[in-house]
């Protein structure tokens, strides 16, 4: 909430001219959700400190948590925004110090490009990625970085460190450049923005990044975070900044291991091939998520009736967008239906399909509720063919990042070994009059099998 800039270049009060702010006054400027005050704790020829105090109004500041955000309902009211340097601080800089940041100085224009010894203090800066990230952002630009970290609660040291830092940066450079760099890098540290990010944001970045961002070794990360991880905007901005360099195709915060991407595609491909091989014409994909398998199925005209069911309405909306449901012709539209439903409730809409698929779905159900799913699928929906895939827990030791005993996904309620899955599936098949066969999914390892496993159930004809 506080940004101070100090210089010791005599006469230090030149800082006042550069900032267009009189050292003897407290000046206040309005922001959308509060005020920003500028005052000088100290202003002598030897040393001058300008303080920018971000005074956010907590009542006006209602921060909506977006989709995928945390589900803490009170986040809008109990949050760190009033106390930290975030994109609000960038907005305050551009509001209070706009002339200085744009390199204009009415009274002493000769000072604009002079490199001043400057010391910046930020109270407090949230940094996603901690001290290493902070240093990787500022040190390549010539800053001497001094960082103080804080525990989450001094009474409970076992809770660990917070992501807030008291940061001091020292460098000798023109004031406009310092302000531009802070303007860009503060929200990058925080990894968030309080406003809607659109293509206008690219222009701002181009302008503020001029002369330093092109060659910054972390420029990819900076651009990505600055663009709030919006893929197309990030790619466009990176293209403009690194004109000659190749643009990476996929931009993700922590790139998924390539094999995982391939594994999921492989699963879906295998499931479709099996359905083709079994010559089914109607398929219900139970737990269709965002519709990846549905898209594969729609590509083949032998599937004349396709149903996608998921419990998440949001996922279905995304599936609808991805499959361009609203732009389909009537005939295409009749082939494909998306419904919200649940594997724990029997549902007449699921009857009458040749095949049902549950791709990586069962591990998201609490074990005591599997019994309901079994009845819903095998007793009530009762298709001739059921394909169920699930992860193979034995394979987990091959994932280095996965600590023993933890699951591959935070929503997994269980992960089964091959014998566990096979025992379950065999018992279910026997109870409901199906015959089941198994096959591995993904690259085979002699010791632990494949990363995923598939069970193919076919109904016994009397």
């Amino acid at each position: 909430m506080l940004l101070t800039i100090t210089t010791t270049r005599n006469p230090a009060t030149d800082l006042g001219y550069l900032l267009h702010k009189h050292p003897a006054k407290v000046q206040t400027f309005p922001l959308t959700a509060g005020d920003v005050h500028v005052f000088y704790p100290e202003a002598t020829a030897e040393k001058c400190t300008a303080a920018l105090l971000l005074d956010l109004d907590p009542v006006r500041l209602t921060r909506k948590s977006g989709p995928g955000g945390n589900d803490f309902a009170l986040e809008a009211y109990v949050n760190d925004r009033p106390y930290v340097a975030s994109s609000f601080m960038s907005a305050a800089i551009s509001q209070a110090y706009s002339s200085a940041m744009n390199g204009r100085c009415k009274d002493k224009p000769e000072l604009v490009d002079v490199a001043f010894p400057l010391e910046v203090s930020l109270s407090v800066l949230p940094v996603n990625g901690g001290e290493p990230l902070l240093r990787s952002l500022f040190e390549p630009l010539g800053y001497e970085v001094d960082v103080q970290a804080f525990p989450l609660d001094t009474q409970y040291p076992e809770w660990g460190q917070s992501r807030y830092y008291q940061v001091t940066l020292k460098n000798t450079l023109p004031l406009w450049m310092l302000l531009s760099q802070l303007y860009v890098l503060i929200p990058v540290c925080d990894n968030d923005k309080h406003y809607f990010v659109g293509s206008h944001e690219i222009e701002k970045l181009m302008e503020k990044g001029r002369g330093w961002l092109e060659d910054h070794p972390a420029n990819e990360l900076i651009v990505r975070r600055y663009m709030k991880h919006l893929g197309p905007l990030t790619r466009e901005a990176l293209g403009l900044i690194m004109k000659d360099e190749a643009t990476p195709e996929e931009v993700e915060e922590i790139p998924e291991p390539a094999e995982k991407i391939r594994l999921h595609d492989l699963r879906l491909q295998t499931v479709r091939d099996l359905l083709l091989e079994q010559q089914v014409s109607s398929v219900a994909d139970l737990g269709c998520g965002e519709g990846k398998l549905l898209r594969l199925l729609t590509e083949k005209s032998v599937f004349t009736r396709i149903l996608g069911m998921d419990v998440s309405y949001r996922s279905l909306e995304i599936a609808g967008e991805k499959l361009k449901l609203d732009r389909m012709t009537d005939r295409q539209r009749k082939r494909l239906e998306l419904i919200q439903g649940s594997l724990l409730y029997k549902d007449k809409r699921l009857s009458g399909f040749d095949a049902a698929t549950l791709v990586e779905v069962i591990e998201h159900l609490d074990p005591p509720r599997l019994a309901a799913m079994e009845k819903v699928v095998f007793e009530y929906a009762r298709p001739s063919l059921v394909i169920i895939t699930t992860v193979n827990a034995e394979y987990n030791i091959k994932y280095e990042s996965l600590t023993a005993g933890t699951f591959r996904h935070s929503d997994h309620r269980f992960e089964w070994t091959r014998p566990e899955f096979e025992a379950w599936a065999t018992e279910v098949a026997g109870r409901f009059g199906y015959t089941v066969t198994f096959r591995p999914l993904g690259e085979w390892d002699d010791a632990v099998g494949a990363p995923s496993q598939l069970a193919l159930f076919t109904i016994d004809t009397a």
Binding site: M1, L2, T4, P23, K25, V26, H37, F39, Y40, P41, E42, A43, T49, A51, L53, P58, V59, N70, F72, A73, L74, E75, Y77, V78, N79, D80, P82, Y83, V84, S123, V124, P126, F150, P151, L152, D153, Q155, Y156, W159, S162, R163, Y164, Q166, V311, S312, Y313, Q340, G341, S342, L343, Y345, K346, D347, H364, P368, A371, A372, K375, V376, D411
Partner: protein, 866 residues
């Protein structure tokens, strides 16, 4: 042959499809308007107009008919008399309407306006819109006359023909007669008796056990028991027989004699069974095979005088397929009856009542496989029936089969209504051997209902739903809210069989205008004053999370009563239906302690129950919210705790250097204090939990035990009984501190305020104020069951650390409580409804509808700070 009507009065069944038949110009529409309500009439002309703006547009006739049929179908589905105003002169067009009437099991009636051609033509000439050719009317009249004589054969139950303007003028009234099966005005109490099959001795024993006096020798009723109903009136009980009085057993004639006497005197009701119907056929000299026990009846009847046989004929012939009793709340039919057939009259209804439904398959015993219609029954009326012998009478979806196979050596069972008690006497001996073993197919320890409930039907929950609640109005669940609830239920909730209740949300008290405060007990006192509540209970608000705890005495009870197998003796779940404990072992250990406490406190014996559902607070809050405390509360505390001192230091320095920043400095000093208070407030909740002993449970309502709810008890009763349980396990259970406040007594009110001040000054969360009795109403309906008054510092973790700065508080005070309070009442009514349904053993879907509804309502957008 149609009956010419030259009477002043005709009568038709109250639920019928009335076809007006006659050529254009016969005066059908005028006739319809005179005798029927406008909404009862569906005119083909009007339908033409609706879809083409031209009532005479013959080109749209097919669509117009479709529309008329659609409207008629909806009306008939709703049990409403419907009149079709169209020419209907061709038998093909009438055939469609007959088909529709059959589909909805209503009686088709034809009223023919067979007026002379001159009359019709003359009338049409006066209407400029009817300028069709002169050949039309003669053609219609000839079509009409061609089939007039065969209308009864077409399927009309009644046909009336009016041949002249005089006939029409003479008719004064059309009255509507109720169907014979309609006995809604009979409210009981009843004793509904299962298939007797000639077991006279057992029947007498059963009737005597039910309190009837029987002259066994003369087969006559001497006296009937009386019961005082809820309304305070004393009424004589009445037996209702589900049919199959005869065959297989030793004394069918005596059974008939007794039942005929009782029914003849109006002291009993009886519906026919398939065996009774077959006996009638035999008595009427029809060809029937003397088997399945009929041979015994025939033999027994050989000794009876012919007058008696004659009276049996009259008796059985006069039996009505089924009865709809007690305002439609009870239906009795021999083999049961689907909802869409209840109170209707058609051959199909009669057939269903006597034989039920079969799948068309033949089982290994060579008998038709019976389709259990009750599996899909979702009607409101209770259906009591027999026909299929079962080892035990069991409820399934508000239906019960009370044929417990007396003649096969089982027992003869009666259902007492409205008490829903089963009374039975064992067979004195086995008189016949069933072709198919009784109870064939029953294979698990679960009841029929529980097996059926294993998987709920999604159609009962998604989309817009309206739930009837006994303590409040009908509550509408909107589709978008159901969508949210389905996801929560499916992804996170516990087994729905455990989830018999969810607690309502709780509104805060009226916003305080006292300086520095957003909430204060005075707001609550004010609320209860306005609602006319005289006594209020203030309970300490615990610093935990709302928890519902269901405890069974053992796993057998969990299986028998909840249908839950292999999931322990109970459950502790949150207000959104999630399991409280991630660790199943810890949960069961916790419940085992509770169980021991209930046992040693004598609760199970005192309450004559093997289980209990308690509404509680489970502490500490951090048990559920550790991540939230660290990532949100502590994080904000750290950020503010580090930033604010830096700001005040800078401002102090500026002030020392004569910069006019004094006001800012003061503001930031007080912000710093607010943040310090905020940190202290959230730290109250940091109570590490590792072991069972780290938890504390504070129950505050005893919601339900076997067969009972406790909404009629006051909160002191709840507190007193809970205290007893808590004393049995003080290391785990916590009795809630409370005070009773007399509204209007200044001393008593002041004591409550002071108590709240004391609690919150010590870091407490505040208190909850409840009307003294659990369920309280004022003129507008239910009064809030509880309102919370939260402490000044606790509110920092809700409204933000600095909410009480004067400039913030003044804005925050404009909060509206209306939406929250309306939500609280709807959820309250749904919660109680769910429990009432559970204790009265309604199907799980009926209970789940209520909890699902609460979860759905919880997705309504309401300020989360309230």
């Amino acid at each position: 042959m149609a009956r010419r009507n030259n009477l002043s009065h005709i009568s038709i069944p109250e639920l019928s499809l009335v076809l007006l038949v006659g050529p254009s110009g016969a005066g059908k529409s005028t006739f319809a308007r005179k005798y029927f309500k406008p909404t009862e009439i569906i005119s083909s002309d009007v339908c033409r107009g609706l879809i083409s703006d031209d009532e005479n547009n013959q080109a749209v006739s097919a669509d117009a008919f479709e529309l008329a049929r659609f409207i008629a179908a909806k009306r008939l589905k709703n049990g409403l008399l419907t009149v079709i105003d169209a020419t209907n002169v061709q038998s093909e067009s009438r055939k469609d309407w007959i088909k529709l009437a059959r589909e909805y099991h209503v009686l088709p009636v034809a009223i023919i306006l067979n007026l002379p051609e001159e009359v019709c033509s003359k009338r049409n000439k006066t209407r400029p819109d009817r300028n069709f050719g002169g050949h039309v009317i003669p053609q219609q009249i000839s079509q009409l006359k061609r089939n007039l004589r065969h209308l009864k054969e077409e399927g009309f139950r009644q046909v009336y023909e009016l041949r002249s303007e005089e006939d029409v003028a003479m008719l004064e009234t059309i009255t509507r007669t109720p169907l014979y099966n309609n006995k809604r005005e009979e409210h009981g109490p009843f004793d509904i008796i299962g298939d007797v099959h000639g077991c006279y001795d057992e029947l007498c024993m059963l009737l005597e056990q039910l309190g009837y006096g029987i002259d066994r020798e003369h087969a006559e009723l001497i006296s009937a028991p009386q019961t005082t109903n809820e309304d305070g009136y004393t009424r004589v009980r009445k037996p209702v027989f589900v049919g199959d009085l005869v065959d297989r057993g030793p004394a069918s004639p005596q059974v008939l004699r007794l039942v005929m006497n009782m029914v003849g005197n109006g002291a009993a009701l009886c519906v026919p069974g398939n065996h009774d119907a077959k006996l009638l056929k035999w008595l009427n000299g029809k060809q029937v095979q003397l088997k399945h026990g009929l041979e015994k009846t025939v033999e027994q009847l050989s000794a009876e005088p012919p007058e008696f046989l004659e009276s049996i004929k009259t008796f059985i012939d006069g039996l009505i397929s089924h009865y709809v009793l007690d305002d439609g709340k009870l239906v009795v039919a021999h083999a049961g009856l689907k909802e869409n057939m209840q109170g209707r009259g058609s051959g199909a209804v009669r057939e269903f009542c006597m034989y039920g439904e079969t799948t068309g398959e033949i089982d290994e015993f060579g008998l038709p496989v019976r389709y259990n219609w009750a599996l899909e029954y979702k009607g409101k009326a209770m259906v009591v029936y027999g026909h299929t012998p079962v080892p035990q009478a069991q409820w399934l979806n508000r239906t019960i089969d009370i044929d417990t196979g007396c003649v096969f050596g089982g027992s003869l069972t009666a259902l007492r209504y409205p008490e829903k008690e089963l009374v039975s006497v064992s067979a004195l001996q086995q008189y016949a051997v069933p072709a198919r073993p009784i109870g064939y197919n029953a294979d698990s320890g679960l009841s029929v209902q529980q097996q059926y409930d294993g998987v709920l039907d999604i159609a009962d929950f998604i989309g817009k739903k309206i739930v009837n609640t006994r303590y409040s109005h009908n509550i509408t669940i909107r589709e978008e809210n159901s969508i949210a609830a389905l996801e929560v239920m499916s992804r996170f909730a516990i087994n729905p069989r455990w989830m018999i209740y969810l607690p309502p949300t709780m509104s805060p008290v009226e916003t305080s205008s006292l300086p520095g405060l957003l909430e204060h007990p005075e707001g609550g006192l004010q609320y209860f004053r306005e609602t006319g509540v005289e006594k209020v209970v203030c309970e300490e608000k615990h610093m935990g999370s709302r928890a519902i705890v269901v405890v069974c005495r053992n796993e057998d009870v969990a299986r028998e009563r909840f249908g839950v197998d292999g999931e322990g003796i109970g459950v502790a779940y949150t207000r959104t239906g999630r399991s409280f404990f991630a660790d199943k072992g810890l949960e069961q250990a916790f419940l085992a302690r509770m169980n021991a406490a209930l046992e040693s406190a004598g609760f199970y014996n005192d309450f004559q129950s093997d289980w209990v559902c308690l509404d509680c607070e489970l502490m500490p809050w951090s048990a559920k919210a550790q991540a939230l405390l660290q990532q949100q509360y502590a994080a904000v505390g750290t950020a503010a705790g580090q930033a604010l001192p830096a700001v005040t230091a800078a401002l102090e320095q500026a002030v020392r250097n004569n910069v006019p920043a004094q006001l800012l400095l003061e503001k930031y000093r007080s912000r710093q204090q607010q943040v310090t208070d905020y940190v202290a407030a959230y730290r109250q909740y940091c109570w590490p939990v590792h072991r069972l002993e780290d938890y504390k449970l504070a129950p505050f309502h005893i919601m339900a035990t076997e067969g009972k709810t406790y909404f009629d008890k006051d909160h002191e009763w709840h507190m007193a009984h809970i205290r007893k349980i808590c004393e049995a396990a003080p290391e785990l259970l916590l009795a809630t501190a409370y005070q009773v406040v007399q509204i209007g007594d200044p001393e008593s009110e002041l004591a409550a305020v002071q108590w709240w001040e004391k609690l919150t000054a010590a870091g407490g969360e505040g208190m909850v104020m409840k009307p003294y009795s659990f369920l309280t109403r004022d003129t507008r309906g239910l009064v809030q069951p509880a309102v919370k008054v939260r402490g000044k510092n606790y509110l920092r973790i809700i409204y933000g650390p600095e909410y009480d700065a004067p400039e913030n508080l003044s804005r925050l005070r404009s909060r509206g409580l209306g939406a929250k309070r309306s939500l609280a009442l709807r959820e309250f009514a749904l919660g109680l409804e769910g429990l009432e349904r559970f204790v009265s053993k309604e199907p799980l879907q009926m209970v789940h509808q209520c909890v699902f509804g609460i979860l759905a309502l919880e997705s309504e957008p309401v300020d989360p700070r309230l």
